[in-house]
Symmetry: C2
Subunit: 136 residues, 2 copies
DNA sequence: CTATATGCAAAAGCTTTGCATATTC
DNA sequence: GAATATGCAAAGCTTTTGCATATAG
């Protein structure tokens, strides 16, 4: 399941305690953490870790394509370790909860014919609204 | 087509030269301006206009639902005057160009059954990639 | 041993806020 | 004339950067 660390080792990614802790913080299902939340978790293990290191590491992971980035209105960037299953997101505008969403492949939006020559790299669908528990 | 300024007057929105200039800056098709770009345009007319006024005004317009907000990786917020036609966006990761995208209504993603009780407020689809002219 | 990751502190965006003054209705 | 928009400057947040030191491979 959590092969992120394995994938990174296979890439000969230079491993340090701080980097391992960042990777650790990003373990799980439906994880969408801000850099600051990652820092908090990392500091539970390694209290001296600097914010810069966490930012550097997250940026590298994103650049390598091993972690996804999620941009949500107003709020800070979120990091999503799930890059193996194609998915999208739902956001509760009330409580800030983010949930992974799988679309049936025939429900995935297609690049419209009005954009000939557009080379698609990423597709993001964001459902924003009020989640069931906030709606009462 | 139906005019933002008219809609605002109908709402008894208090009009000032600065606000009128902001609304003016946001006129057109396929317009996606950052707050700073709006400020530049406003200052062409009213050089003393403060950044705070532009931010206040844009926030109000968004809050009223008369202007749309677009959040793009890394870059600053963009403001989109087109709120009457339901549409999405394509972003060129190379040149930063943003283009409005219309999907056929049966291509619009549906809230999945896995989220019962979710009250959808907004749906954003973002196609990211390389535009035809950047691809050469 | 060498390349590079780390921590620190400072700076760099972007956006918001407080307050006195000016302006719209 | 009363409510509120404006400008200014300062502060707030998130993220990036430069540099000396520490450390992984």
């Amino acid at each position: 399941m959590d092969d992120l660390l394995q994938r990174l080792e296979r890439r000969d990614w230079r491993l340090t305690p701080q980097r391992r802790a960042v990777v650790d913080a990003l373990r799980g299902e439906n994880v969408h953490l801000s850099a600051d939340e990652v820092l908090d978790r990392v500091r539970d293990e390694l209290p001296e870790t600097s914010r810069a290191t966490v930012y550097n590491t997250l940026n590298e992971l994103v650049e390598m394509g091993e972690v996804g980035e999620l941009h949500v209105a107003g709020r800070s960037r979120k990091y999503d370790p799930n890059v193996t299953d194609r998915h999208h997101h739902a956001l509760c505008e009330s409580c800030g909860m983010v949930q992974d969403i799988q679309l049936r492949s025939d429900d995935e939006p297609q690049v419209p014919a009005s954009m000939p020559g557009f080379e698609l790299r990423r597709l993001d669908v964001l459902f924003s609204g009020i989640c069931a528990s906030c709606a009462n």
